[in-house]
């Protein structure tokens, strides 16, 4: 069970949240010109990374607001959570500390 630090509400139990996959995927601007190949890649293909994962969460049973998290999918350790409007935090230092 994860303890997740909602940037709006503070630390809450994971069961209050739902995860919505990879973050920072922008919908293409030129949708009328996209090929099937490009549409498929945008809709279905993901990094599915083993390691540092930037992902989206919603605090469904709390404030119901979206935010992003940076989590190591190999250990489930969460390095940072941040609002969608925030700059992406630099977690290099935290990442190195956890590896040592």
């Amino acid at each position: 069970m994860l303890l997740i630090d909602c940037p709006w509400c503070g630390e809450r139990d994971q069961t209050e949240f739902s995860a919505h996959g990879e973050a920072h995927i922008a919908r293409p601007q030129n949708t009328a010109e996209l090929s099937d190949e490009e549409w498929g890649d945008y809709v279905f293909f993901r990094k599915n990374i083993k390691g540092i994962h930037y992902e989206r969460w919603v605090h469904d049973f709390g404030c119901r607001r979206w935010f992003n998290a940076i989590r190591d999918t190999a250990s489930d350790q969460i390095f940072a959570t941040y609002k969608p409007s925030d700059a992406v935090p630099d977690i290099t230092a935290a990442d190195k500390a956890s590896e040592s």
């Binding site: 069970m1 994971q14 995860a19 996959g21 190949e37 890649d41 809709v43 293909f45 999918t73 489930d76």
Partner: protein, 414 residues
Amino acid sequence: MKPYSLFSLLRNSVAYHQNWQQAWRSPEPQKHYDIVIIGGGGHGLATAYYLAKECGIRNVAVLEKGWIGGGNTGRNTTIVRSNYLLDESAGIYEHSMKLWEGLSQDLNFNVMFSQRGLLHLAHSVHDMQEIGRRGNAIHLNGIDSEFLTPAQIKEMVPLINLDCRYPIMGGLLQRRGGTARHDAVAWGYARAADALGVDIIQNCHVEGFDIQQNEVKAIRTSRGTITADKVGCVVAGHSSVLAEMAGFRLPLESVPLQALVSEPVKPVLDCVIMSNGIHVYVSQSDKGELVVGAGSDAYNSYSQRGSFDQIEHVVGPLVELFPIFSRLRMLRQWGGIVDVTVDRSPILSKTPVNNLFFNCGWGTGGFKCTPGSGHLFAHSLASGDMHPKAAPFSINRFNTGALVDEGAAAAVAH
């Protein structure tokens, strides 16, 4: 390899079981193989076995990061069925079911395949409509399926509580469904493949590919570089990690899926019970343990640890259906990493890299298709073109839109 028989059992019994031969060799990897299979789980070993047995390609290696039987092959809930809705799914899963039906004899290894029947429960009007549609579709594909009334269900499973919080309104039964011993499937395929000349190389971790002119030439491993004419990747939850090494992405997300077993008790349940509506599935192993499958976590993870709330979500419905089980203690709980596609159907496909094939995306229900997946993947690797039964499961479907959107796989049974 000396075949197992009643005679060999008697002979080894009087010799205090000291003289059983090793089930498979542990060879050093050669410099080159015609085909290298990455991943020594059931699907990978089955692929190697059918390559050697049916395709006449015996210069084959199976590379396994850990040990045989140590991955998801040994972590599932051992359920076998072929009651899928869509024609493409019926084709591949029923192909597998037919191979299961002769597997112990074929491998000379008792995989304890038990067609004890698989009963899918319906708890609402919607559930009844779902099993009505699916049961008839299965029937039209020539696969056995029967509708049961609550009274027939009670007669078949006397312990069941029909009048639970979401009362049971009916059921869909596949009598040919059941269970098999998962470890034995891995061991049986490994032993039979080894006997045909396949090299099974354990503790061999793949670190990268040598790709020249968009064609895979060699595999860099923890035990040296191995060249190969063709490479098949069958690594379940870690498929995306290998695809990244080869320079492309897959339409997969890896999540933990949990299961748990109870203390062993005398026989109480002689079929597999599944319910999508209240989300539980349970069977009793030949050892007497209840094998209970939980849901998968809703976030990506490679941690091999599921969250506790998923256990609560499966144990609640279990004791609703079978109040008598509330007194049982659970002995073990574990998680495996499954690679889930958006349409809940597998991927057996060529990839953007020539001569590199992937067999993945089996998600939460790959065990049942171990023989079928291996068989079709072997024929596809050998010919260089996907077998007609595997062709609908190409990776291209995520770009063309021809998804195999299999609702019968999406919910609960594995």
